[in-house]
């Protein structure tokens, strides 16, 4: 098609051929490509290498999953949690982080949150991969913040382990609920409700509010819940084979 800068149907302002038969359209496309291209930053280049997909790396770093506001909110709440934990001796970071991460996960994916969701559904990079990579990003960020916070309290391994495992379960629950219902709010509510039930269950009666993150007996149930919810999320985002 002849270049048509104004999409008016008229021949473009730039001639298609220059002196000596040079294809000016082709030259211009090369110049424009260099001028307009978005050069990925170090984080995107690293993500692209780790994920072996520039598309996934771009999806991870430039779409709603890692909005600055959400990252700042996470840091603010976790920092507040650290301060309270250190001053009271109760692992508030471990108690607060799972529902917070669940909200992050639920809001990181879905038709109501991602404006270009329908377009993304028709692209080769699987929406499930985008979803799981974004989930990983939430865990990764919270794990880093958790390590920093727990290092300050002097109980790195126990707190981080006791925090990440239940967080995995709660986030998977939120992810499954948000994916099945196609509503991020439903995902957040499911995550919060699940965590409240765990924390406030019969432990309250025994005065063990923090047992949900300190009892090793709960590790296997947490992992089972997480695995089940991931399966639900994967199932809900599949394309059925009934298509053919």
């Amino acid at each position: 098609m002849t270049r048509d800068p104004d999409m008016t149907g008229r021949p473009g302002n730039r001639p298609g051929r220059g002196p000596d038969g040079i294809d000016l359209d082709r030259v211009w496309a090369g110049v424009a490509a260099e001028v307009w291209r978005r050069r990925p930053g170090p984080a995107e280049r690293l993500a692209g290498r780790l994920l072996r997909s520039p598309g996934l790396a771009r999806a991870l770093l430039t779409t709603p999953s890692l909005l600055l506001g959400w990252v700042l909110a996470t840091m603010a709440v976790l920092l507040a949690g650290v301060v309270v934990t250190l001053s009271t001796g109760t692992p508030w970071v471990a108690l607060i982080a799972p529902p917070l991460a669940a909200a992050g996960i639920a809001y990181a994916y879905g038709p109501g949150i991602d404006p270009a969701w329908e377009l993304s559904q028709s692209t080769a990079v699987s929406d499930r991969m985008v979803l799981l990579v974004r989930a990983l990003a939430v865990f990764g960020l919270n794990a880093i913040l958790g390590l920093v916070a727990s290092a300050a309290s002097g109980a790195v391994a126990a707190v981080t382990f006791g925090w990440l495992v239940p967080m995995t379960a709660v986030c998977a629950l939120a992810l499954a609920a948000a994916t099945v219902s196609r509503s991020a709010n439903v995902g957040v509510l499911a995550g919060l409700a699940g965590w409240l039930i765990i924390v406030l269950g019969d432990r309250v009666a025994a005065g063990q509010l923090t047992a949900a993150v300190t009892s090793t007996v709960l590790i296997l149930p947490y992992l089972a819940i997480a695995a089940g919810c991931v399966v639900i999320a994967m199932y809900a985002t599949r394309t059925p084979r009934g298509a053919s």
Binding site: M7, A32, R38, D114, P115, Q121, A124, S126, P240, G242
Partner: protein
């Protein structure tokens, strides 16, 4: 054949949006016409692999979109403009098109030139670095068209592509349709019969989830001779076929 559809249905609860459609399409530009609620968008979304069919057979680019590997290959070769283009307001025109080029799995080295070519194709060179939130509705539509064509698709699906375009832009857009129709299949869902008359080699008319007419624009015009209502010959054919199809 790039599109082979047999007895395809799609139900939403009790509503049957697409009710047993058969369609085959090779290279060329195909117009999909019909009133609101006829099932055009649902059919297009199934062809875009966004919506799974309830039943029936669907093959795209000689592949089965029901399996992961073939579906991914189809999506690499697919261009899709949805009826409602969702976009990230903070992205520039070039960033948005580049983002979807990457999600379409285009080789990274080819992306910048493909993006520049697509932007020039839709005449947005002067706006390449403008944020999407600053663009008019017609310009956003052109951005949507650019992302659909950035990977030089073999199957191009466009839902109401000329909505918001001014008459001059529509003329240029029809030329673009013809260009892509020479090397692949272009399916255009539209309400504007003049777009069909000017650009399409075949036209399919849907009503209540079924195909009620399939033929050339001239065939549709012939249906309206002495029967239809409308200002243009194709409009008369359109209204005559719909009148005959309604109980």
């Amino acid at each position: 054949m790039n599109v082979e559809i047999s007895e395809l249905t799609r139900r939403f609860g009790r509503t049957e949006a697409v009710a047993g459609v058969d369609l085959r399409a090779g290279a060329g530009v195909f117009g999909l016409l019909g009133p609101n609620g006829a099932g055009k968008t649902s059919l297009l979304r199934m062809m875009a692999t966004v919506l799974p069919p309830s039943s029936g057979t669907l093959r795209l680019l000689d592949r089965d979109p029901g399996s992961y590997g073939p579906r991914r290959e189809i999506r690499r070769r697919l261009g899709y403009l949805p009826q409602n283009l969702g976009y990230y307001p903070g992205f520039t025109v070039a960033e948005f098109i580049e983002y979807f080029a990457l999600l379409k799995d285009m080789p990274t080295g080819q992306v910048p030139r493909a993006v520049a070519t697509a932007i020039e194709h839709v005449g947005l060179g002067g706006k390449a670095r403008a944020k999407l939130r600053t663009l008019s509705g017609g310009m956003l539509r052109r951005v949507g068209i650019a992302q659909a064509i950035v990977n030089q698709p073999e199957l191009l699906l466009l839902d109401e592509p000329t909505a918001g375009l001014d008459p001059e832009q529509r003329v240029a857009f029809r030329a673009l349709l013809r260009e892509f129709g020479q090397r692949g299949t272009v399916i255009v869902s539209t309400h504007l019969v003049e777009d069909v008359a000017a650009a399409c080699s075949e036209v399919t008319l849907m009503n209540a989830g079924k195909i009620v007419f399939h033929g050339t624009p001239d065939d549709l015009i012939a249906q309206g001779e002495g029967h239809g209502v409308g200002d243009a010959p194709l409009e008369r054919g359109y209204s005559a076929v719909l009148a005959a199809a309604r109980p």
